[in-house]
Amino acid sequence: MPRGFFWLLVALLVAPLHALAGGYADELIERARHLRLAERAEWRKLVHYVPDLVSPGVHSQIDSPAFFNATLGKQDPRAELEATLRSFFAPPAAEDDHPQCRFAARRAWLDVELQFDQRRLPRRECRRYREWRAAIDASQLTLVFASAYVSNPGSMYGHTLLRVDAAAQDERTRLLAYAISFAADTDETNGFAYALKGVFGGYRGVLSMLPYYLKVREYSDLEHRDLWEYELDLNAAELERVLAHAWELLPVYFDYFFFDENCAYHLLGLLQVARPELELTAQFPLWALPVDSVRALTGQAGLVRKIVYRPSRSTIMAERLARMRPSERRMARDLALGALPPADPVLRALPAERAAAVVEAAYDYHNRHALLVARSEIDAPSQAPRVPPGPRPDEGHRTSRVALGGGQRDRAAFVELGLRPTYHDLLDDDTGYVGGAQVEFFHLRARAYEGRDARIESLIPFAVSSLLPRGDFFQPRSWRVAAGWERRFTKSGAEPLAAGAEGGIGGAWSVAGGLLAYASLEAAVRVHSAFEHGYTAGGGARLGMVVDAARSWRIHVYAQQIGSVLGERTDPGAMVMEQRLTLARDAALRLDLRSERQAGQSFNAAGLFVQLYF
C-alpha cells in the first residue's frame, strides 16, 4: 500500500472520530453536571479536596500540578472533573502516560457513574498499570503500626504503613508483601533538623513502595519497635479502588507537615476511597497521630478482621532473658562480648536446648558470626520464645488531655485548667504506649488564685524524656529536655512567666517490685527582665523514683537542686510527689504535692486534678 494512501485513510478515519469524540465528551460532561458528580464524596476523596480554612471554597491537599487536568483544578472540583473527562479522549500516542491510565481510580469511578460507551470513548490499554497491579498480586490490605521510638524526633509518635498482601502469601511469608507508606522525600539523617523542617512544611511528602522485609528489618531489628498488623476486611472492589488510587498517588507529592498533613493522615486519605461512605480523614482537623489513625480504623465496625503482633528483636530478647537463669544470662553476655569462647565446656555441658537458648540470646545481643556458627552446631530447634502480646496501641488512652482541678499554695487556694494536645507523660497509664517515654507538646496550664485574675502558669511547647532501666545487657541513658515558659520567683519578689529550657541526663535502675530509681545531672536556664542581669542559669542533680503501687496507681517522687552559676542566684530546689490513679481508659485522677524554694522564697503546694483524655 502506497504510504500516501495509508495516511489519507488514517486521516479519513480519525477526522470524524475526533468530531464525534468532542460531541461525546460534551455529552458526558452534561450528564456529570446533571448528576452533580463533582459534589460527590467519591470525587472529593479521589482529588483530596478539603474545605478552605477561611473562605468558603475548597482546595486539594495534593500539591503537584501533574495531579490536575484543569488549570484551576486544585481549587475547582467541577472544572477538574470536566477536564479529566476530556483528557480521557486524548489520542493514544503515549500509551503509558495516557490520562486514562494515570488516573485509573478516577476513570473507574466515572465509568461506573456515566457508563462510558466503549465505541465512542475507547478504553486505553494501560500496560504499565496492569503490570504493576499483577506484580503486587494483592488479595488484602493490612495497616501496620510501628510503635514509638522516642530516641528519634521523627518517630516519637510511631508510624503507620499499608501492607499489600499478595494472594500467594500466608502468615509465614508476609515478609514478601509490599509496604506502601507516605514519607518525607529527604535524605536528612539528623532527626532534629528533620523534625524542625517537618513542622514547618519544608519537605515534599511522597508515597513510597518497599518490600515489607526492609521495613521489618528497619523497625524490628534496628529501632527495637514492635509492630502491630491490622488486617482489613475489604471486598475485591474496595481493594481495587484503593490500589488504583495508590497508583494515582505514586508520582505526586504534597507539602509535608509533621503534625496534621502527615503520613498517618495521608494513609487514611488513601484508604477511605475504598467505600463511598467511609470518612477517615474528616475526623482529624488538627492532628493525625499514627495511633489515632489506627483507632479511626478499629472504630469502624467490621473493618479490621484480624490483628497480629510482631515483637521486635529486642522485645524477643528481653523475653529470652526473662526465661533464663541468672547463670545462663551471664554466660550469654560473656559469649556475646567474647569473654567466653563458644567451645567452653560449661556451655557445652548444658542440655542442647539450654545451650541453644544461651547462644541465641548472645547473638541477638551482639551479631557475631562466630555465634551463628556455634549455634548451627547445636542440634536443637529454635529457642525463640513466643512473646504474649500486651495491650494494643489502640487500647491505650486517647492522645489529647484536659485537666481540671484545684489546690492550695501556702495559704492561697487556686483552680487550674490544663490542656495538653499530645500525648503521653511519665505518669500517664502506659497501656498501649511505650513505657518510660514522655512526649508532650504545647502543654498549657492556667491558674486562678482566690480573689485574683486567672493567669498562665506555664506553657511548655516541648517536653520529651526517656527513662529506661539499665541492666546487664542494655545500658540506655535516661534523658529529658523541655523548653517553654513557666512562673518562677525572682529575688525581686515577682513571679514572672519566664522563658527557659532545661535538660537532664543520667541513668535509671530497676530496683525491685517494679520500682525504678533514677539519678541525673541537670541544667536549666531562664530568661526574664525581672531577674538580675535578666536571666539565671545553673546546674545540679535530681534523684527520683517511679513505682506502680497498684496496676492503676503510679507514684513519681523526686528531689532536685540546681545551683545558679550565672545571672541571678535563684538556686531553685524542689521535692515533688506526683500520683496518678487510673479511673477508666480515658479518665484519671492526679495528686501533686510539692515543696519548693526559688530565689529565697519557700512554698508548699498541693493540687488535685481530674484528667480526661480525648
Binding site: A135, D221, E223, R313, H369
Partner: protein, 164 residues
C-alpha cells in the same frame, strides 16, 4: 543494539546467578546491604541513619518509574530472590543456624519449595550454613552460587536450584 539487548535479557533470564556475578548487577541495586551498613545486633544505639518516616530516595531510587531492579516500586521478578537475599543476609544466616524461621520460609517460598520439602530445605541450609555464609559479610552473588550447589547436591532439593 536491539539484538544485544535481547541476548542480555535472555542471559539474565536463563542464568541469573551467573549473570549476576558477571554484570555485577547486585551491586547496582543492592540497596539492602547499603541500607543496613553498620548494624551489628541490639547493642549499638547509634543506628545507620535510618529514620522513620523518611524515605531515602538515593537508597531505593524513585518509587515511580524504572530504576535498577524495580519498576514502579515493584521488584522485577528476575531480581526478587537476589534482592531478598541481599536485603536479608543477617536474618537468613540466623534462621539457617537454628534450622528455620520466617526469613528462611520466605526464601523457600521464593524458590517454590513445596511444604513437603521445607524440612529438608531447612536441614540442608543448616548443615551448610558455614559454607553459604562463610563470614558475616558474604557477597550476594557468592551466597546465590553456593546455595545453588547445596541444593543441587541434595536429591530431594535439586529441582529447586533452577530458581536461583
Amino acid at each position: 543494539m536491539k539484538k544485544l539487548a535481547r541476548i542480555a535479557t535472555a542471559a539474565v533470564l536463563l542464568l541469573p546467578a551467573a549473570a549476576l556475578a558477571q554484570v555485577n548487577n547486585v551491586g547496582s541495586c543492592g540497596w539492602g546491604s547499603k541500607v543496613f551498613d553498620g548494624q551489628s545486633g541490639v547493642v549499638p544505639q547509634s543506628l545507620a541513619g535510618i529514620t522513620n518516616g523518611i524515605f531515602f530516595n538515593q537508597t531505593f531510587g524513585v518509587s515511580f518509574g524504572t530504576s535498577g531492579c524495580t519498576q514502579d516500586g515493584t521488584v522485577r521478578s528476575t531480581w526478587k530472590t537476589s534482592m531478598f537475599i541481599d536485603g536479608n543476609k543477617e536474618r537468613l544466616a540466623r534462621d539457617m543456624s537454628v534450622g528455620g524461621g520466617e526469613t528462611l520460609d520466605a526464601l523457600a517460598h521464593l524458590l517454590g519449595v513445596e511444604a513437603a520439602d521445607q524440612a529438608a530445605f531447612n536441614r540442608a541450609t543448616r548443615d551448610n550454613m558455614q559454607r553459604i555464609f562463610p563470614s558475616g559479610s558474604a557477597a550476594t552473588e557468592d551466597i546465590l552460587a553456593i546455595l545453588r550447589n547445596v541444593l543441587n547436591a541434595d536429591a530431594q532439593l535439586a529441582r529447586y536450584s533452577a530458581a536461583l
